[in-house]
Symmetry: C2
Subunit: 439 residues, 2 copies
């Protein structure tokens, strides 16, 4: 009955009138927890945040060199890239964005389109809901500025042929967005509250200024300033070096996928003070100590530590832990050989075991627990390691790194050097409200 009134309102009423089940009064329905119908959802104001296409990136990259479009085309061709291919993806994305925007406007919804570089807290405050128009990366960016669990975020995959879109609506809604809007309005969907991670940081000389890794405008100087071990301060306060360790500080970020801790692969600090950091791809192992659920501290050496959510268990964490059929087959073969057993290892059987193993790496985004994974653990005469992977409510990490970072969702980094301690946990208020639509 409520649905019908809603439909009537839409068809016959003033389209700018928010339906009576306005955003603020919506009943919340946890994923799978109840079969009660979800109240309809029709926001007045929607911000659409769009990704930067590769075509745009290449254009900007060479813009300062004053290249014409023809020059750009030839340059890309020389590199074996296809100018027309990039332009095609660019146009597909833009067409899909236009489709979304027009669909919203037809429903009388105020729309504001912002490029990822223009997206900020003000946009979030203005909007009743935020749509991410891009891929999973754009969703992560959008989520990163939504700290309240009441503001819905919806992802639309604007290039399904090129983008996975795990965090986006099913691909069919990309070109059928009005259908999605209709279902939202009717309440024919579920809310999915994705648990996110919060971070406390403590230790001396830590400047908890986040560095936005995607910020194209950030110069190296600004990066250094943000991340510098306060050696100048230390020098000035040399009489006060007995200063105590700072209190744990709750960082102003929430991670939707994962926290990754590891050496930042930078070369060493210059001996001469005014030469900037030269940062290179250098494989240096990460040293740290880890304590799970207030357990004993354990020293580890590895390629880094990933601590992910249920959402993130399908992302980088999945790739860290996933096994290839080749490895599974070899393990089973050796197992049979060692046991003197004779089990037929058909390709179908191998695939079944592999899929089963890999599926066990994924868990529900709504679960309030973390999955920690040690990436490429180094076990030798000097170091040992217990579990490579496990669930937890809380993970503490003490850095023993030379020049490490804590990276949130691959997009924001915090300095995390020798002596710093990070506490990784989850809290109910950190959830992100997203939409689950039937395919």
């Amino acid at each position: 009955m409520a649905h019908r009134s809603l439909v009537n309102l839409l068809l016959f009423g003033n389209r700018t009138i928010s339906c009576i089940f306005a955003l603020r009064s919506l009943r919340t329905v946890a994923c799978g927890a109840s079969s009660a119908p979800t109240a309809g959802f029709k926001p007045d104001k929607v911000a659409v945040v769009t990704k930067t296409t590769r075509y745009e990136f290449e254009q900007q990259r060479y813009r300062y060199a004053g290249l014409s479009e023809e020059d750009l085309k030839q340059l890309l061709a020389m590199k074996g890239s296809s100018y027309s291919g990039l332009l095609e993806r660019h146009n597909i994305h833009n067409n899909n964005v236009e489709h979304i925007v027009k669909s919203l406007q037809r429903e009388g919804i105020q729309v504001r389109v912002v490029k990822r570089g223009e997206y900020n807290e003000e946009v979030v405050r203005w909007a009743d809901a935020v749509i991410s128009a891009g891929g999973d990366g754009t969703m992560l960016l959008v989520a990163s500025k939504v700290l309240s669990k009441d503001k819905p975020v919806v992802g639309v995959n604007t290039d399904p042929e090129r983008s996975e879109g795990h965090l986006c609506l099913p691909v069919r809604y990309t070109r059928a967005f009005p259908e999605a809007l209709e279902k939202l309005c009717r309440g024919e969907f579920r809310w999915l509250w994705r648990q996110r991670i919060r971070l406390h940081l403590e230790g001396t000389g830590i400047n908890p200024t986040p560095v936005d890794l995607h910020d194209q405008q950030l110069s190296l100087e600004q990066h250094n300033r943000a991340h510098r071990i306060t050696t100048t301060d230390t020098h000035q306060r040399s009489g006060m070096l007995h200063q105590t360790v700072s209190e744990p500080c709750l960082l102003p970020v929430r991670s939707l996928n994962e926290i990754f801790i590891g050496e930042s692969l930078s070369s060493r600090v210059k001996v001469k003070p005014f030469k900037p950091h030269a940062n290179f791809l250098l494989h240096r192992a990460s040293y740290y100590e880890i304590s799970v659920d207030d357990g004993p501290w354990e020293k580890q050496k590895s390629s880094g530590l990933s601590i992910c959510t249920g959402t993130g268990s399908k992302a980088w964490s999945y790739n860290i832990n996933k096994l290839a059929e080749q490895a599974v087959e070899e393990v089973l073969r050796i197992g049979m050989s060692e046991a003197g057993a004779d089990l037929p290892l058909s390709p179908e059987f191998i695939q079944k075991v592999t899929d089963s193993y890999n599926e066990s790496l994924v868990f529900s985004p709504a679960q309030r627990r973390l999955l920690y994974s040690v990436r490429e653990p180094i076990v030798n005469r000097v170091f040992s390691s217990s579990r490579q992977r496990g669930f937890a409510s809380k993970v503490c990490v003490r850095s023993r790194c030379w020049d490490a970072c804590m990276v949130v969702d691959g997009g924001t980094s915090f300095e995390f050097n020798d002596g710093a301690i990070a506490t990784v946990s989850m809290s109910e208020e950190d959830q992100l409200r997203t939409v689950l639509l039937e395919n």
Copy 2:
């Protein structure tokens, strides 16, 4: 008999006289290939290349801030590091270096001690043999400037408690170096020729200037200059953009452990030309195409590609491919469940299977073949991947990356962007001559 004459020469003859089995006339004995005695080896001139200790690094790091030793001690303490601990390792290293140097001098050998920053081709030319005094990292550096297969390189682990020293002599020789020298002189050892990797690079806009990732003096500007896509040149030659792809160029490096190809984890090129790169730890997947032994090209997306030697099969490649007991147990458990079988999975059994699997990842340094490993392959709707790991004589890689590098032994990087093609292979003349001493 030859041995006795040798001993006599040493004990009674002029110590500066090279023994009759001088370096140049040594018979070569491949590892395990022959039981004929190795001719003795006594070089006239030995260069000893020493590592930088962490203590020295921390000192240099803060030197510009004008900190006193006392300040440094307090600063380290605040970070939870132990100043006295670092100093202790520093002294242990230096004592061991002194032990090596004195042992050499006692044999009448000319010794030249060089820090890693001072080590160059001139030192290699001067020396009859080069000793690496440090850990495996120092050995890689030493090897990187020895391109001839006739110049012996010997590694001594100067901090066995902290360093693995896979590439070094057995640890007991660290404090008993005269014993090692004696055995060398008597021929009581084997030569181990470690096969190395050579690299050809082709593609437009490639500047094959290697960047030394450990070079503390290299400013970011120099790095950019070395690695810049020649956009300025392109602009000036805009009338000549039809320039053909450059010929494959053999790079002046030989890899002892591995080549690693991957996105350099840098943020994007600045829109404004005079703002330097800001490079951060950003997990971006690497896109490339791979062709094994002239097979068909296959597109891949992963965390990077490792191509290693037998020597390197115990290094990074090993950690990429190694399985934890936890994973092996899970695979076997699922396998048993899927097959409806009931095999007891005791901890000892799991450990046996795990060790057996991991041992199969390692092969002899003398073998002239490569092992390629795809690190964290991304397999989804968009990308697929065949073998995650395999042997080959030749591997070709075409970059589809935005900002990638090819890293040689974790120490030297080459730009490897969209369109560039690397050919990775081995040649008999690229071997490194090292020493195999009984424990």
